[in-house]
Amino acid sequence: MDIRTVTVIGANGTMGCNISGIFASFGEAKVYMVCRNIEDAKKAREKAKISVRAEAIGKNLIPRTYEDLEECLAESDLIFESVKEDIEIKKDVYNRIIKYIKPNTIIGTGTSGLSINELSECFDESLRPYFLGIHMYNPPYYMTLCEVIPSKYTDLKILKEVKEYLKSNLLRKVVEVKDEPAFMGNRIGFQFINEALQYAELYKDNGGIDYIDAILGPFTGRNMPPLMTSDFVGLDVHQAIVDNIYNNTMDYAHETFKMPDFALKLISEQKLGKKSGCGLYQTIINSDGTRTYKVYDISSNSYRSKENYIFPFAKQMINEFKIGNYKSAFKKLIENNSIEANICIQFMLKYVIYSISTAKSIGENIYSADDVMANGFNWVPPLAVVDAFGGVQNFIMIANKKLPKEFLSQIDITTLMQDVPQSKYDYRPFFKAK
């Protein structure tokens, strides 16, 4: 597939800007960065260059406004729509561009969860075969996952060619996903994060938010604890993702997508997270430049100093990881019966089960969940967790022992796991000694 010119619409948004950088660098494409006004487009151009650490791509990045759409689209081989995550706004943009799109132009939307089928129906029948979802993760220079979501009208040859282009030219880890709410990475990731948020409420008297994050810290196979991740992306974005899944899907984990009351309250007070100064956490920069880290205490409805929890099981695991004794670390987790160790292992087990179940229902193959979680979230891939726990049979044994009966009654783990292969990923780099 020869993509020489790309138009990115909404190029001043974080994703639009960074993805413009990816097309212009790895793709060596000329990119029209279309924004509402030229000043925004010029600023986005500077950011895009820095996002791929290459000023030399600047000549490929051309700031433009909506007024120039006709000229941009006449020349474009691919249009990438990256406007606000609002179906009406997207439809409005599609209506504006439809008359300028030349035949055979690929039309990709960067939506992170709206229905691709519904969006594709904004186009007439001649354009629908060329429309599909191209969902990258932020920041795309470091997170190489690209979920590709065909609509029911997408031409299969076009789909194949776009996937190959994304893989070979843009060096993306491409995973084809069915048109389901939030697609795959966010569905699995936010199942975990939102259930952690629910557990923060459930265990609010044990400490709540920072307590749960300390149980599910980097030693459980991620760079950042789950609730800190939510604070980083913003509770509003978190809510949009889980509400979309909650309202439009039905699987055994349905109730884990329900936003807890305290989080809704924080959102209503505009306490959205890092971007609004406070949310689940709060960082205060003192007059002497030092920082004080605070956390929202659910019980008292106020911010308090973040606790430095030391759980014996976590300390033991971290000490084993430090010297590369992975098997001993997992043995210590499995053998520990403290409340915290049980919460930790249950989350890890449930993560694997939900991931495999999701990969089977909406993924390309059994490895899809590994690819999305490793390359989109930088979390330990689920199949690699099975390897870390000693393989499928051991995993089933541990799951039956550690998971509550109510959970086990909802899902047949033995059938789910029967054809699970070894992961293509090495679990060791993902488990941090911290």
């Binding site: 791929v52 000023e55 030399a56 980097p218 590369g324 780099p429 941090k432």
Partner: protein
């Protein structure tokens, strides 16, 4: 050679990893690379205990600056922390700055050839991400004559290899732009080769000729005279394991005899100070005559010439050192290195590919590990195990590993028996 030295294989860690960020130390690093290496070559910790009963196994550890980066000396003894199987196994550290890997390999090969041991493990490692870039640059200055060439100088090594670029232009009366464009091309070839290598530090990074030529911009700052960031290899964390064995061991213990052998080697030490090197080489056609001599020695010992070598792994700590290596290998006459670059001869699909792995620029440069990494890459290519970066023809490969400003020069040829 009477007693052939066989290369059994090995393993390397992913050079993209930052072990400090993972919170892990040298014991974890060594455990991983040795576990993986043993698995790859089919030797167990029980086997090590068995070989050690007869005193026939030894370990050779390459590391440059453990004292500075992680406050650890006596690193030859660290293997006892990896597994009790190493209790009693002779093991020591070998150091020659960035050529530490080669001096450890040389010691292992020599001991095997002498019949002192039957099997040798060579492990090169460095953990460098424990400090910031400037501190790291200062630490590395110890590979030069520190007091005169590095003390108080920010990033001394880019400056020394920047001087090599200046001297190359001067000696061969080159057009500066053409020379710098060729250096940019070297950088791009290495980055692009690294894209195929699943262990390379830069496999997800972007580089093209426009960017590599945009020297002096904020994303490609000048760092050593005419050299910019794109001309430099980047430090990283990593470890590499290689197992070598004597002919006797292979004949008596292994089913397959089809392992590559070490066919030749060269080791020459040039004057420590860069200015003295250039002065001393002024009567030679080669800009660094002892580097060339190490290559010639290896060809002579192997009874081979450049025509017999299918590919090269070189020490591209900077693009200017790879440029110099082209004539040192004999691919072109000295002063005509540009011919091999401009004709794509050294590219992945060229007639004499250099650094199919991505080299130091593409793979990353964990200093004490790099020499062993090149050697492992020779093994992988020759045995067809280089995964995505396998060359079509790779019967014989040559590596050049240098320490300091091409002070210690080491060359090995590994090939099919």
């Amino acid at each position: 050679m009477e007693n052939n030295i066989y290369v059994l294989g090995g393993a390397q860690t992913d050079f993209e990893r930052n072990w400090s960020k993972e919170g892990k130390g040298v014991v974890a690093l060594l455990k991983e690379v040795i576990d993986d290496g043993l698995k790859n070559i089919g030797i167990t910790y029980e086997d090590i205990i068995k070989y050690n009963k007869d005193g026939k196994i030894a370990c050779f550890i390459a590391n440059f600056l453990g004292e500075y980066f992680i406050n650890q000396s006596h690193v030859g003894a660290l293997l006892t922390e990896v597994n009790p199987a190493f209790y009693g196994v002779p093991s020591a550290r070998y150091e020659a700055a960035c050529a530490s890997g080669s001096v450890a390999l040389d010691a292992a090969i020599t001991k095997l050839r002498a019949g002192d041991y039957d099997i040798a493990f060579v492990i090169g490692w460095e953990l460098m991400k424990t400090v910031d870039a400037k501190t790291c640059g200062d630490f590395l200055g110890r590979a030069a004559l520190y007091e005169e060439e590095a003390s108080g100088i920010e990033f001394p090594f880019p400056k020394l290899f920047g001087q090599l670029a200046d001297e190359t232009i001067k000696k061969y009366n080159l057009d500066e732009k053409r020379y710098l464009d060729n250096l940019a091309r070297i950088s791009v070839i290495n980055y692009s080769n690294a894209k195929r290598n699943p262990y390379a530090q830069t496999r997800k990074w972007f580089m093209n000729e426009a960017q590599a030529s945009s020297r002096g911009t904020s994303t490609n700052a000048l760092i050593g005279n005419k050299l910019a960031i794109s001309d430099c290899s980047q430090v990283t964390d990593g470890a590499v394991f290689v197992a070598l064995a004597s002919q006797k061991f292979v004949e008596e213990n292994l089913k397959s005899k089809d392992y590559p052998i070490v066919k030749g080697w060269g080791h020459r030490v040039a004057p420590m100070k860069f200015s003295e090197k250039i002065k001393e080489s002024s009567d030679s056609n080669y800009i660094l005559k002892w580097t060339r001599q190490a290559v010639v020695d290896a060809y002579n010992r192997a009874n081979m010439s450049v025509d017999d070598i299918d590919f090269f792994e070189t020490h591209d700590c900077f693009t200017s050192s790879e440029y110099m290596a082209i004539s040192a290998f004999g691919i072109t006459e000295p002063g005509c290195e540009y011919e091999a670059i401009e004709s794509n001869m050294i590219s992945f699909y060229g007639k004499k590919p250099i650094n199919p792995s991505g080299g130091l620029i593409g793979c990353g440069h964990p200093v004490g590990a790099s020499g062993v990494r090149m050697f492992l890459d020779l093994y992988k290519q020759v045995t067809g195990q280089a995964e995505g970066y396998q060359l079509n023809k790779a019967d014989n490969g040559m590596m050049l590993n240098i320490g300091g400003s091409a002070t210690t020069n080491y060359v090995f040829i590994v090939g099919k028996k």
